[in-house]
Symmetry: C2
Subunit: 522 residues, 2 copies
């Protein structure tokens, strides 16, 4: 039976760390959970980083099959935790067992998908330019390129995905797949869940015969995270959370003697554009599915549809009535932490008291602690544009509907919006011409464009982009979900005229896919 001890996990073992730290809170009841989790001090951070650095060369040089099996081993070890994991996650997050079970499957599927990615070898980006000894005026040398891991990665998980975006979540899976050791700064909202998963990873590391330094899990306060990002042996950062915390990490990373990238996925309000024919033809269906999406799991998704644009008129009025009716049936749900709940109350309160915003609809109160009824607000395009704050994310079940006088006003609003993870089009066949006008505007501002769906529910696959221009993320050229997310943690190295016996194995044999003189082979 897996035990939760509250210790920091470094070097394949557990130790008591520095000062006693925190206990987890059951957000539904407000009760404190055992045990106390100790905080890693600077010496712990240094030890974990040095072990990660020492493990890096052998881990990145490990056989691809061993690395793939390691990822599968992590998945199996997480499954081996059984209901213990779900029990603890439920107690720490207030999320439903159904949701957590789905999230666990997503997490293990994600690890197994990255195992396939490692084996397939596309990520190595192998390129071979054969020598041209007789070329004038200079011969061309033998040039071979592969991608290698950037080095040890610090991972800051998310509050709202205690499994899929946390200790063994997408950042960790992608970094491991790239051959990078990982040090996780544990999220204080679910430290016990994190520790259980941390033990599973430690077991998989040992089973795979990898150096223990490839993984560590440190709980701590802000200074622990700061020390980690500042450590010279950390070479990249994966972060999912608030804009404030993301910007703080970016500033710390940029101020290092050797600046490093921070992949911060920060904030997004995921605008939805309901085009006129769809609004008319599917008024109620769109209203109901919108409310279902915005209120799902307390609205605690980074892809929550927080902003809806539609053109004024009787169809919109009917839509608003349906929204009101649908929201009236939604209960408040306990939010992930008291702090998140307080921030939600502040955000909803600010909208409710805003002179240019109208409260369109509220859901029902609930019995849990840390729960506030979901809320949908209404404003118009001119008022929305006049106050930048109306475009800021309110994390939780809160959305703002923006009434546009004309479709052109909707297009202008799209041109002015900040970078987003997603944009959604609700459209019917008669809306295609307007959608075609919107599309290039959205492409410039978001990472994923959806039609006739809702942005919650992020597929972990090859063609997914969970990213987007700032402030949605720190760097729009990367995704934090899907197989392409491995690219965050890779850098290319070129080998010129190296003797055969010194070349990396993947560049010697021809088993893996590669570009030869620009032409794909294998």
């Amino acid at each position: 039976m897996a035990m939760i001890t509250g210790e920091v996990l470094i070097g394949g073992g557990a130790s008591s760390g520095g000062a006693p730290g925190i206990r987890a809170t059951n957000p539904k009841t407000g009760a404190l959970l055992e045990p106390i989790f100790t905080f890693a001090d600077e010496a712990d951070v240094d030890r974990a980083a040095r072990l990660a650095w020492d493990a890096f060369d052998s881990f990145r040089d490990s056989d691809l099959e061993i690395r793939a099996r390691f990822l599968e081993g992590v998945a199996a070890a997480i499954e081996g935790l059984g209901e213990t994991l779900i029990d603890r996650a439920e107690a720490e997050t207030g999320l439903s067992r159904r949701r957590l079970t789905i999230e666990r499957n997503r997490t293990t599927n994600q690890l197994r998908l990255f195992a396939e990615v490692v084996r397939a070898g596309e990520w190595l980006d192998l390129r071979i330019d054969p020598p041209l000894p007789d070329r004038a005026p200079f011969p061309r040398p033998d040039l071979r390129l592969r991608q290698i891991g950037v080095g040890p990665v610090a991972v800051f998980g998310a509050s709202n995905f205690p499994l899929a975006f946390s200790v063994a979540g997408g950042d960790t899976a992608a970094a491991f797949a790239a051959g990078c050791p990982v040090i996780v700064k544990g999220h204080p909202a679910h430290p016990g869940t994190g520790e259980l998963v941390g033990h599973a990873i430690q077991a998989a590391v040992a089973d795979a015969g990898l150096p223990a330094g490839v993984f560590a899990l440190l709980n701590g306060a802000v200074d622990t995270g700061t020390a980690l990002v500042r450590h010279p042996m950390i070479k990249s950062v994966g972060f999912t959370g608030s804009r404030g915390a993301g910007l703080a990490l970016m500033a710390i990373a940029a101020a290092r003697p050797e600046p490093i990238p921070v992949h911060a996925e920060m904030s997004s309000i995921n605008p939805v554009f309901i085009l006129p024919v769809a609004l008319r033809e599917r008024t109620e269906q769109i209203a109901r599915s919108f409310v279902d999406s915005m209120a799902l799991d307390g609205g605690q998704y980074c892809t929550n549809p927080g902003l809806v644009y539609a053109v004024a008129g009787p169809d919109l009025e009917a839509f608003l009535s349906h929204v009101e009716a649908a929201l009236a049936l939604k209960h408040a749900e306990a939010m992930l932490t008291p702090g998140i709940h307080q921030a939600f109350d502040r955000g909803v309160g600010a909208l409710a008291s805003h002179p240019d915003v109208q409260i369109l609809a509220r859901g029902l109160d609930g019995d849990d602690a840390n729960a506030t009824a979901p809320a949908i607000f209404l404003t118009d395009a001119a008022r929305f544009e006049a106050d930048e704050a109306l475009g800021h994310e309110v994390f939780g079940a809160s959305s703002l509907i923006v009434r546009c006088e004309t479709i052109d006003a909707m297009l202008e609003a799209a041109e002015r919006m900040e970078g987003q993870l997603t944009a959604t089009l609700q459209l019917d066949a008669g809306d295609i011409a307007e959608a075609r006008r919107l599309l290039p505007v959205l492409e410039r501002r978001v990472g994923r464009i959806l039609a006739n769906g809702w942005p919650t529910g992020v597929e972990v696959s090859h063609a997914m982009v969970h990213g987007g221009p700032y402030p949605a993320t720190a760097d729009s050229r990367f995704t934090s979900v899907g197989t392409l997310s491995i690219r965050r943690f890779l850098r290319p190295v070129s080998y010129q005229n190296l003797p055969q016996e010194l070349l990396p194995a993947v560049l010697r044999d021809d088993a893996l896919p590669r570009l030869v003189d620009g032409v794909r082979q294998g």
Copy 2:
């Protein structure tokens, strides 16, 4: 006949800009060249950026064949400038006609290579995950991914490659290939050369029927560059130059309301490790080829071998004698600008007067202005480690040889070195075991590893990496030379359940290579 007017080039035309700016200097004679180049003011920057932004959607949406022919058109138009271009470049840079002719061919080959890249479509990174409507608990949507350009790119060319790293150099070619408009901040060391090439690009833009806003060339002082990097419609920066200027641009870009990446290729001393057997067996050949490489074109290459490690002993003493003899035959050459020459004199002077550094060899003085005899210095590993400044780049024909007591001391030195563009191994068959120990250390610190060659001479091909960990570049995950350099200016966008008629053409048909459910096709 192409005319040099000194105007700023915006929107397909030329205009007089703001205040009169600079004239170019012939570094060999110190003579000022006609005409006066006017400086772009903030209004010019704004106009160029807005035109670029307005051109962006149609440029990035242009047919791949049109974009490829445009790149070929730029190459042909540069060739059309004939000797006029070489004459002006020779007058402005002091570089030899032979070198400039080779560089022009490299530049036009580079443009044509990117045309092939555009056509081949690998850069689009097309990925299709077909829908799984019956999957439980949720169906999988239709997901399709492509890469698009990031937006208008500001390019800051290099002093030392007036063609290949300047107005129509690698950054511009890669950005155009990615579908990004380009605004070049002209380099003050070769403004006339830049203007000639700028006219060639303008002609090619018009011939291809592309919007004139896809290209602009602005001369100016520091404030012009600052205004450009600060402009909200600029989305990326390509820079080649000094560490100080690169860091300044990075700071400006990071402080924007919307931070943007700066691809700064800044400084590198390109360490060479001469392993013991090679040192013994090829003493004179390595010494002579080293001196040829370090003194080539006044040593004004970012891949100049500025640092040489070798193990103490009689072989090294013989090597030093050969180096001394070889350098004694090398003449001083006019450097690119008086400023670069002064900086070289300062750098060489600091080494010459350093208490822990010995002057090993000097070349001959020359007749040109702005020329100082090349210099090679000697120190030992402990002294080198004791003063970080000894590891800083001296741009020009200056190198430092570091004598290591043992091969282990050489390895330790490698572990401590900063990020570099390249590292070179001089090795024979008997050195393989030592090289194997060095290799992982070098992989962590450099972008390209060479055996038995010299780092000057950067092939423009698929497997080239001209990049490396900080401070060699701002982001080790990218290269600024070779076809992979297009990735700097691309970001992924995912399309979920989009109606067929709204999908980008490249994601609709199946003519281009793509990953379908993770399996490569086409």
